[in-house]
């Protein structure tokens, strides 16, 4: 089946197919398309969609609803992510299943509201005070936007964590033709119910079962440091246990959370590692290179955090030059350079609102 749709539609429909039944957002270009779609389609299908008075309210509604049992989504752009920051920390600490889509635009501040950029990468990874991890996906195209939104809901449910999906203006507001012929939609995950203790876990990486607030059983939710019962504590061993749990829950699952497309060519000496819209230019660059008899490997990352280290190390075998194209001044390249200390670094960066040209990637790979 061949469809024609824009990135906002891909995200909104992905969310609804993942079982999203609660949406809140505040208008912001270029993310408003998703807000309007959810306002139009969610209530007629039994869900709740609301436009908050600001971003603080929108994510607050989502966190409240999620802890009352809903599958919640909010969508914004960079300035809204800044305002979400404190509440994303709350969702991390309170172990709230929540999906946040960041339709990136040019920053800082108001920046270029209608100009594309993908410069929120390190920002969203470190968005909460304390620096605790969360899961970050990045869509390269419309099929990804649909699929990763579903994966994000599933990961949020499995791990009781906020999950961020990165999109951008040139994905959300661009229409594309997508073949969904052999596509298999991920099954929507159902939240695992908890017993009596709202934050119970045995090993640090275990995920507590979910106790909804406002259900028949008493449940406590808090963003303050708490023990397994949700009661505030300053007891050092309990504090350490909780915070180690927040790290281990995510970091110990790096392999399981890794979604990548490896298109590795035997004998290639250069590797392109790409994510977001530059991955499209990278696919085109690889096609052109191979068509002209030059060898080039490609690793496309849909999971950015936790860093899919195993997949990256595997792709680096036999490689001595790594190209990292990004629509920012070089953010994710830091993660790649750490894993490839011996390789020649060939970053390709654009911050002027235009997209990376496949020829720039070829030049970086073969010059």
């Amino acid at each position: 089946m061949r469809v024609y749709l824009d990135g906002s539609e891909a995200i909104a429909i992905g969310a609804m197919h993942a079982g999203c039944d609660f949406f809140a957002g505040y208008p912001i270009t270029p993310a408003s398309g998703v807000l309007e779609l959810m306002m139009r389609h969610l209530p007629p299908s039994g869900g709740v969609a609301i436009q908050g008075e600001d971003e603080l309210a929108s994510i607050g509604f989502c966190i409240g609803a999620a802890m009352a049992g809903a599958k919640a989504l909010t969508v914004t752009s960079g300035p809204g992510m800044s305002l979400y920051s404190e509440n994303i920390g709350l969702a991390t600490m309170g172990e709230v299943p929540l999906v946040i889509v960041d339709v990136q635009r040019m920053g800082p501040a108001t920046g270029g509201a209608t100009t594309t950029a993908e410069g929120d990468v390190q920002f969203v990874r470190w968005i909460t005070s304390g620096g605790y991890p969360l899961v970050v996906y990045a869509a390269t195209n419309h099929a990804d936007a649909y699929r990763l939104t579903i994966e994000a809901f599933n990961t949020a449910e499995r791990l009781r964590t906020p999950v961020i999906v990165l999109s951008s203006k040139d994905l959300a507001l661009t229409s594309d033709t997508v073949d969904f012929g052999d596509f298999r939609r991920p099954e929507a995950v159902v939240r695992a119910p908890g017993d009596r203790v709202p934050y119970a876990f045995f090993r640090p990486q275990d995920v507590p079962g979910f106790l909804a607030v406002g259900d028949r059983r008493l449940a406590r939710f808090t963003g303050s440091m708490h023990d397994e019962r949700g009661v505030i504590t300053t007891d050092t061993p309990l504090v350490e246990r909780k915070l180690r749990h927040l790290v281990e829950k995510i970091e110990s699952r790096a392999d399981e959370l890794a979604i990548v497309d490896a298109d590795l060519q035997e004998g290639a000496r250069a590797l392109v590692v790409a994510y977001g819209t530059p991955a499209r230019a990278a696919r085109e660059a690889v096609r052109r290179a191979r068509a002209s008899g030059r060898m080039l490997s490609l690793l496309v990352l849909q999971t950015l955090y936790p860093v899919p280290e195993t997949a990256i190390r595997r792709a680096l075998g036999g490689i001595d030059r790594v190209v990292v194209p990004e629509l920012n001044s070089g953010q994710y390249a830091r993660e790649i350079w750490l894993l490839a200390p011996e390789c020649v670094r060939a970053p390709v960066n654009r911050i002027d609102g235009t997209l990376i040209d496949p020829e720039e990637i070829l030049e970086a790979a073969f010059s």
Partner: protein, 423 residues
């Protein structure tokens, strides 16, 4: 088991918070609410450190945002009564939420523990600190006029608004009425902070009570029933969610295009440039091609340029940017000026005849009888006439065109194909 355990509450000796907790426990009991009916959302502040004394589900989030969590919970579980415990500090940092919750009439009952300063952080001034009052951050006396929460809630449309003191014997009754109210309710409970405010200002409970009585809005200031509570007013249907199939485009025509082609449409806002781009892109997909459509948008809406890029290709498209357009369509002066950098690189420029002088070497094409609103569509049709069947473009108008005006649009498409054939 009582709803709230009143022994050993974690408040300073003499603090009014203890009396308000007693009033809350009695009020919930009087309203005949149990653990299945009601839960509590507490804000940051002294009133929020006693969750474990409450034998109901509790939610303790960020400072100032308690009303937002309560709103989300109420929307997800409309049958539940949700009580927010917040201080005067929380009403400052979260003032916007208070106004909007009242305006929205979400069924949340807000109990304000108003003691005129930030007790937990050392007695700094808040939005309700009286004029002249001494606090840790107003050592010369407060110069900021206090916010009247009762008047504010009334102005924002709250259906139940009351002001009482922590010592009032009818506190449980007022809270019972507020919690039972089907809509937004606010109870502004004035009390003393023995740790800070009372130490710096000569106001004990007796004087506070006098001040409360002397301030307009004391007692139940408003009790209006009948306005529709927001969470129950929301429509909740049972339709199926949209499917990917709803966006499917069948292949019904044949294109002769053999390689990627980039078309840029440049006009003015109001000339339906985006619509024209969408029509030719969908016509291409109807003809078995892949297509993308990318817009260059100014911040203005009905003024200034409007530019859209369409890429057509027999193969899936990876590079989303049109670099040197195969055809640049210029339907207005705004469009000509916005695309100056492409004038020389475009393989072909189609231009509205009156603008011909702006772009040397451009092909001027006449589209007799076509209005400005359909001109870009006519020119876009002309741009793809060699590779997409005319009927595919007409079919795209019929299926995906705007709700009205298909006949005019199809005439414009036909004019586009005729015009380019004679140019």
């Amino acid at each position: 088991m009582s709803l709230i355990e009143l022994e050993n509450l974690p408040f300073c000796a003499g603090c009014s918070h203890e009396s308000i907790f007693r009033g809350l426990a009695a009020g919930l009991e009087r309203a005949e609410l149990g653990p299945d009916d009601v839960m509590v959302v507490s804000d940051i502040g002294c009133q929020g450190i006693a969750d474990q004394k409450i034998n109901l589900s509790t939610f303790h989030g960020l400072h100032g945002r308690s009303i937002t969590y309560a709103t989300g919970i109420k929307l997800a579980r409309p049958q539940l009564r949700v009580v927010v415990l917040v201080g005067d500090g929380g009403c400052g940092i979260g003032g916007g939420h208070l106004i909007n919750a009242a305006r929205r009439n979400i069924g949340v009952c807000v109990v304000v523990f108003n003691n005129f300063n930030f007790g937990m952080t050392g007695g700094q001034h808040s939005v309700t600190t009286p004029l002249g009052a001494l606090t840790a951050t107003t050592p010369q006396g407060n110069l900021e006029r206090p916010l009247d929460l009762v008047r504010l809630a009334e102005a924002a449309g709250a259906g139940f608004v009351a002001r009482v003191t922590a010592a009032d014997p009818d506190l449980p009754d007022v809270i019972a009425q507020a919690v039972a109210h089907d809509g937004f309710a606010l109870v502004d409970v004035w009390g003393i902070c023995t740790a800070h405010y009372m130490k710096r200002n000569d106001e004990r409970m007796a004087q506070l009570s006098e001040r409360a009585h002397a301030t307009p809005g004391y007692g139940i200031a408003r009790h209006h029933d009948g306005a529709r509570e927001f969470s129950s007013a929301l429509a909740r249907g049972s339709a199926a969610v949209p499917r990917l199939e709803d966006f499917a485009v069948p292949v019904e025509f044949v294109s002769t295009l053999e390689r990627r082609m980039g078309v840029v449409l440049a006009g003015s806002a109001g000339m339906r440039v985006g619509t024209a781009a969408s029509i030719i892109a969908r016509a291409a997909v109807l003809s078995g091609l892949y297509a993308t459509q990318k817009s260059v948008i100014p911040v203005t809406v009905m003024k200034g340029f409007s530019v859209a890029e369409v890429i057509l290709s027999p193969e899936p498209i990876e590079d989303l940017q049109v670099r040197a357009p195969d055809v640049l369509v210029i339907s207005s002066e705004d469009g000509a000026r916005k695309t100056v950098s492409m004038h020389a690189t475009a393989r072909r420029v189609l231009i509205e005849p009156s603008l011909g002088a702006l772009v040397p070497g451009a092909t001027s094409v006449e589209f007799p009888g076509v209005r400005a609103t359909e001109l870009t569509l006519a020119m876009a049709a002309a741009a793809v006439a060699e590779v997409i069947p005319e009927d595919a473009v007409a079919a795209a108008v019929e299926r995906w065109g705007p709700p009205r005006g298909h006949a005019k649009m199809i005439e414009a498409v036909r004019a586009g194909y005729r015009g380019i054939a004679s140019a």
